[in-house]
């Protein structure tokens, strides 16, 4: 295994981690503050990607497209909150699962009807296309670096927002003890709406950013949603910091496991068996990681609730 | 201490910097009715949680008949005979009154890994359950849904459930909480009947009830026991009057 490949894959893992964080950050707060299980969060990611694709095609400029896609994603999230989700906050988890499952079915299909079943592609903005030499022999796509960079920047901003501002304080307090927050005389309905809309926009941003390197297709959010769940469970529900650390962990474990798992196994078994086992085991690694974390810490690494 | 039924040795519990119970040591002999009183926030309920195993013990030991049960989780302590009631009524509202109690019998008799046969028809479970209901005066409500009982009746049911577990030691967390004068008279009479038969550790706010029922009383203030004695001794104890009853010492 070459060192260059290791660097490249580590960066890829980091990029996946950043992506997962952008989706998980909103979701973990929705879970934590509202005790609301939202399966439809992956759909927000998909909608973000589609909106970016549409607006980019219309304006001919990715950044203009992104600038239009973000508020649209926010509006879309708020509309869903207003029409459906807010009626579910005081229901049990099962009702929430069922209704948000219904929303997934609806929107995946709606996307198919509107934009067709075939994947859309979004060109990488010219200024950031191509690759850059990071060190001798290490060439890396610029756009992926942009994703990593913007994701990290948002992580820092979000960290400051949550730990330093009044609304962040309320959100943290809400994740620890929702009753307390309403006892403080805060309009909890409004707080929920803000958290929800913000989370939807972050997920939409994630979708928009990866649109140029992934194919934009119906159901693209579904599998990522499950990985996001794993991230949230590992990080601890309601913890943004936990979500970040867990997202990077999951991103790295998943990416590195897939590319180096078989190679590492070759050290202890014969090559054919190693590649067989490696390929079977690699996609399970993140889940094994989750099981291991939960075995020792059933509430995740950084549980918000005491 | 051959006849010590329940011993607490240096029990402590703290949440972060906040110490809730602080070095509580207490020995309750078999058959004693022991009451713990103290101002709000003195750590009384935390102490019961600690003894019963509902929350993990900080440090210190709980001994039942000389045997260390500190490491046992709540359900296993119950099976050893260390049974508790809850301050906020905790019953199965969708079950009938009889079934609530029969479940406690079921936990005690035989295995519950039995997958066939109607449990509700097992006389082996229902007979002791009816006896416990009789004891607390709820026999005629046996078939009612527990959720439909009045508050006082729920408190009675709570006691019946505890009794059906055949406790060696009964931990009662404010059994009179929220009851009216008539309801509490019924409950006090019931506790009076239990006195001497079962070792009881009672937490209660109603001073009259405590002084009428208890053999000995301990006073808990800021998580520490500041005095233990007969009701008369405790009433006369100067420290207690200052710390708890709030009286000026003249």
């Amino acid at each position: 295994m070459s060192l260059t490949l290791l660097y490249v894959q580590t960066l890829n893992g980091l990029q996946l981690g950043v992506l997962l964080f952008l989706i998980a950050a909103g979701l973990t707060l929705v879970f934590g503050v509202m005790d609301f299980i939202n399966l439809a969060h992956g759909v927000q990611y998909m909608i973000g990607a589609y909106l970016a694709a549409m607006f980019t095609a219309m304006t001919g400029n990715f950044f203009l497209g992104l600038a239009l896609a973000l508020p649209s994603a926010l509006l879309f999230g708020l509309a869903l909150e207003f029409l459906v989700f807010r009626h579910l906050y005081d229901r049990d988890h099962l009702d929430q699962v069922l209704a948000t499952f219904g929303i997934i079915l609806t929107l995946n299909q709606a996307v198919k009807v509107i934009w067709g079943a075939a994947p859309l592609s979004v060109p990488i903005p010219d200024a950031f296309s191509g690759s850059i030499v990071l060190m001798p022999g290490l060439l890396y796509p610029v756009w992926r670096l942009v994703i990593i960079g913007s994701g990290l920047a948002i992580a820092v901003l979000l960290g400051i927002l949550v730990s330093k501002t009044r609304i962040g304080m309320l959100v943290r307090a809400g994740a620890t003890n929702a009753n307390m927050v309403s006892a403080l005389g805060v309009d909890i309905g409004k707080l929920f709406m803000i958290v929800f809309g913000f989370g939807a926009m972050l997920a939409g941003f994630a979708g928009a950013m990866v649109a140029p390197i992934l194919s934009v297709e119906p159901g693209m959010g579904d599998n990522l949603l499950i990985l996001t769940f794993v991230v949230i469970v590992i990080g601890g529900i309601g913890s943004v910091r936990g979500a970040f650390i867990a997202a990077v962990m999951v991103g790295l474990v998943d990416t590195l496991g897939r590319s180096f798992g078989p190679t590492l196994l070759r050290a202890i078994m014969d090559p054919a068996a190693a590649s067989q086992t490696g390929r079977a085991l690699a996609p399970m690694l993140t889940y094994i990681l989750m099981a291991a974390v939960l075995f020792f810490r059933p509430a995740g690494l950084f549980p918000a609730k005491k | 201490m051959a006849d010590a039924m329940l011993s607490l040795r240096h029990l402590c519990k703290s949440y972060g910097a906040l110490t809730v119970t602080d070095d509580v040591t207490l020995t309750i002999p078999k058959g004693e009715f022991h009451a713990i009183i103290g101002p709000n926030g003195a750590g009384k309920t935390t102490l019961i949680h600690q003894i019963s195993g509902l929350i993990p013990s900080g440090s210190g030991h709980v001994l039942l008949e000389g045997e260390d049960v500190t490491r046992l989780p709540l359900p296993l302590r119950v099976r050893q005979g260390l049974v508790r009631s809850f301050q906020i009524t905790s019953i199965l509202p969708g079950f009938s009154v009889l079934e609530n109690v029969a479940l406690a019998v079921q936990a005690r008799i035989g295995t519950s890994f039995r997958f066939f046969g109607r449990a509700a028809a097992e006389e082996r479970l229902n007979a002791p359950a009816r006896a416990a209901l009789d004891e607390v005066g709820l026999a005629d409500r046996a078939e009612t849904r527990a959720g439909l009982l009045s508050h006082g009746e729920k408190r009675q049911l709570e006691l019946a459930i505890a009794l059906a577990a055949e406790p060696k030691v009964l931990l009662l967390d404010e059994p009179l909480a929220g009851t009216g004068p008539e309801e509490s008279a019924v409950l006090i009479a019931l506790l009076q009947r239990l006195k001497g038969r079962i070792t009881i550790l009672l937490i209660e706010h109603d001073m009259e009830a405590v002084f009428a029922l208890a053999d000995r009383v301990s006073v808990l203030v800021y998580g520490r026991i500041i005095a233990t004695g007969t009701p008369a001794e405790v009433r006369d104890n100067v420290d207690v009057r200052v710390a708890y009853l709030g009286e000026e010492v003249t």
């Binding site: 299980i37 399966l39 459906v84 009626h87 988890h93 099962l94 009702d95 699962v97 069922l98 209704a99 499952f101 219904g102 929303i103 997934i104 079915l105 609806t106 929107l107 995946n108 009807v113 579904d222 499950i226 769940f229 469970v233 529900i237 067989q276 390929r279 079977a280 996609p283 399970m284 989750m290 939960l294 059933p298 509430a299 | 509902l54 709540l74 359900p75 296993l76 119950v78 049974v83 508790r84 809850f86 905790s90 019953i91 199965l92 969708g94 079950f95 479940l103 406690a104 936990a107 005690r108 519950s112 890994f113 039995r114 997958f115 066939f116 046969g117 109607r118 449990a119 509700a120 097992e122």
Partner: protein, 315 residues
């Protein structure tokens, strides 16, 4: 009222038993296949109702057990072992084993965590199946025929298979019915109402919940065994998380915690799917909003609706 309530499952089974006779006057093989599929999913839904409805454990990975059962059939049969006497015990044991491992880990957690973890374990099983290149990987694999019993092709004919499935459904239903009123079932139901009280009565709930989780998983493995045989095909698609979601939908559609509600729900779901997809390929655009509306406005599912109607009628 009591008699009526107990009459519903009997009516359902009578319908299933007599359906093939009626079907012989119509498109027989289509109807047999459709209703067999309904019954297979009914077994899975009944098993899910055990943990979902009676245990209040929202498991979102139940389809994995169906997949494990189905893959046991597929893998054994690809190695030439086609006899039910071996396949069925292996399918059940494999599902039970998967349930013990995932249940023991999942049940350490509660609420939203439990939902997400069961979901994740379901996905793990899915990805494992996808990576089994030797057994078809992504595409799944076609069986060379249905299972035999002591060398005899006992379910080769669709009608025979139909009745075998019906017997399996009735047996599964009867087992669950007995379970929920037994001592064991009473503990499970008690834990649904008030777990803290159950612990304070002296029940270490983890053991009981793990047991019901394993029983439900094993029963669902039975559904998987039948599923593989009906389609004569196994694929990772059997255990997607969407499939797990559909199983939950079936149970809720029928009404939680009644067992026969789950059968009703499975039938309603599959027939609705069949009917709607006959009308438009975008049937999910109708079904999705329908689900949301059911949650918002019709709590208690079909059984609940029936009981509400009855209540209004003053029965």
């Amino acid at each position: 009222m009591m008699i009526r309530r107990e009459a519903l499952p009997l009516l359902l089974f009578a319908f299933f038993a007599l359906m093939p006779i009626a079907a012989s006057f119509g498109p027989e093989s289509y109807l047999l296949a459709l209703v067999t599929r309904v019954m297979v999913f009914a077994i899975a839904a009944v098993s899910l109702d055990l943990i979902l409805g009676y245990g209040a454990l929202v498991s979102f990975g139940h389809a994995a057990f169906m997949g494990v059962g189905a893959y046991a059939v597929g893998i054994l049969s690809s190695h030439g072992i086609k006899d039910t006497a071996i396949q069925l015990p292996v399918a059940l044991a494999a599902s039970a084993f998967f349930a013990v491992i995932t249940g023991a880990l999942s049940l350490r957690t509660k609420g939203v965590y439990f939902i997400m973890i069961t979901l994740a374990f379901g996905q793990m099983a899915f990805f494992l199946a996808v990576s089994l290149a030797a057994y078809g990987g992504d595409d799944g694999m076609t069986l060379s025929g249905r299972s035999q019993l002591f060398g005899f092709d006992f379910i080769k004919r669709d009608r025979a298979f139909y009745y075998v499935t019906l017997v399996a459904l009735i047996a599964a239903y009867a087992l669950c019915r007995s379970l929920v009123v037994s001592r064991f079932g009473r503990v499970i139901r008690g834990a649904r109402e008030n777990p803290q009280r159950m612990a304070a009565i002296g029940f270490p709930l983890f053991h009981y919940q793990l047991a019901i989780y394993v029983i439900a998983g094993t029963l669902c493995g039975l559904a998987g065994f039948l599923m593989a045989n009906q389609a004569e095909f196994v694929s990772p698609a059997y255990m997607t998380w969407q499939r797990s979601g559909e199983l939950i939908v079936m149970v809720l559609l029928g009404g939680l915690g009644s067992l026969h509600g789950a059968i009703l729900g499975a039938a309603a779901f599959l027939l609705l799917e069949e009917g709607l997809s006959g009308i438009t390929e975008h049937w999910k655009l109708i079904f999705g909003p329908f689900l949301v509306l059911v949650v918002l406005f019709a709590r208690g599912g079909l059984i609940g609706a029936v009981e509400r109607l009855r209540g209004k009628g003053g029965a």
